[in-house]
Symmetry: none
Subunit: 249 residues, 2 copies
Amino acid sequence: MNFQKRKRIILDKLTDMGEASVKELADEIGISEITIRRDLLILAGEGLLYRTHGGAMRLDLVKTPTNFTNKIASNAEAKDHICRLAARHIQEGDTIFMDCGSTVFRLCQFIKNKEIHVVTNSLPVLQELMDSSVKINLVGGEVDKERQAVHGKIAEEHIARYHFDKAFLGVDGISAAKGLSAHSELEAGITLTAAAHAEETYLLCDASKIGKDKYLQFAPATLANVIISNKKTEAVLDLAKAGLTVITD
Amino acid sequence: MNFQKRKRIILDKLTDMGEASVKELADEIGISEITIRRDLLILAGEGLLYRTHGGAMRLDLVKTPTNFTNKIASNAEAKDHICRLAARHIQEGDTIFMDCGSTVFRLCQFIKNKEIHVVTNSLPVLQELMDSSVKINLVGGEVDKERQAVHGKIAEEHIARYHFDKAFLGVDGISAAKGLSAHSELEAGITLTAAAHAEETYLLCDASKIGKDKYLQFAPATLANVIISNKKTEAVLDLAKAGLTVITD
DNA sequence: GTACATTTGTTCAAAAATAATCAATTTCGA
DNA sequence: TCGAAATTGATTATTTTTGAACAAATGTAC
């Protein structure tokens, strides 16, 4: 019985049962426990399973469920870096718009103590700034429970009544060639309207989204004045050539 | 039973129930309480739950320090009685307005499963109806952090764009002689606007407020069509004489 | 406010699982 | 066939996990 064969048996058992103990596997395969442990160490190293005390589990069972509102956002450090940079561009007295992207949300922690005026359509942003020195104006309209935001025609009309010093927006994809793209028409509408009524438009966008195009292309990249990201990749430099101010540190 | 498995069970229980006690979890999982405590300590450290005395809560339930979500609200039974009556007057398909009073807030629990459309300027109401079958429209405008509501001129203009089948409103005082009174101009403005655009206006008002006058008198009692209260006091009968429909049971 | 009960943190001990070391076995190529 | 390298197993030491006991802290009732 060689390693390859045991590997197959172990992984099969895991796909089947979800988990397995060292003892079980040793008995089933007819080999010593220590060998099983060594096998599990290797397989865990290859990222094929999760090693627990006494056995192993399938990876998907270990993943922390994401349906917590305070989800451990992916790319948290990158996003925090971006937001730290963005916060430097916000002066006391500014009126800013914040949209409902997960990157923009992380800007909250950096502006809590500023004396500014925030207009937003994002319910998590509202929640987060509730106990802060920030004055908040909420955009009215239809509540999108899934996205935890306010959207729709009335929301856009409402945004259009304001004038912002700066708008901080997230998009799902951006490229020099095809411009800004989004997953949702509703979000695109908000983004367009906010940008149209802002002195300066900042896009907060981690490097993974730059150079990517999503299904709905809704504006040229030059809708924004500034793009703040975490890495100076090829795709980012293309945007600089297109006339955008790029900030990465 | 390893930590990963317990973690799953604990988090699942929390997503389901919102909260769980150490004892419950220990019994359910079949392990000692101290182990559960250690697990909760770790999970709280990972930001996956909020540790309370004797157990744990889901984060999103903690984050909302909604002043009147707690059941210790004054006059809770009276208010619940009033709201139960009010809920009977709401039909499937209705579009209703709910304002930011603590009595009106308690109406939420009785309408969660109705297929209706709710327009509100109250953030606790929004929060409470977030996971329900109700469609929500949020009134936009200035956020009043203390009252947890949206107020102001823009809010009133926004309300004026809608038409409601029924408006459910709270006031701080009401008497046949001096009409409706409030503590705050902002709330009075919302009340007036909502009533003006509703087919029928319901006042939800426990007996302690009836016959009382607060500093700002802003409308005649006949602004409302119906008043729902918990007791048939002298002052309530005066309102009936003034032409209001009175409901107390 | 005090007194009481509950919950928690801490320390210690026992049990289980693991890592480390070394010996035995197998495999493979010259 | 011989020997080096890899694999496997056994033994021991270490680490991790769990539970129990008790003092401290917290919440509750009066």
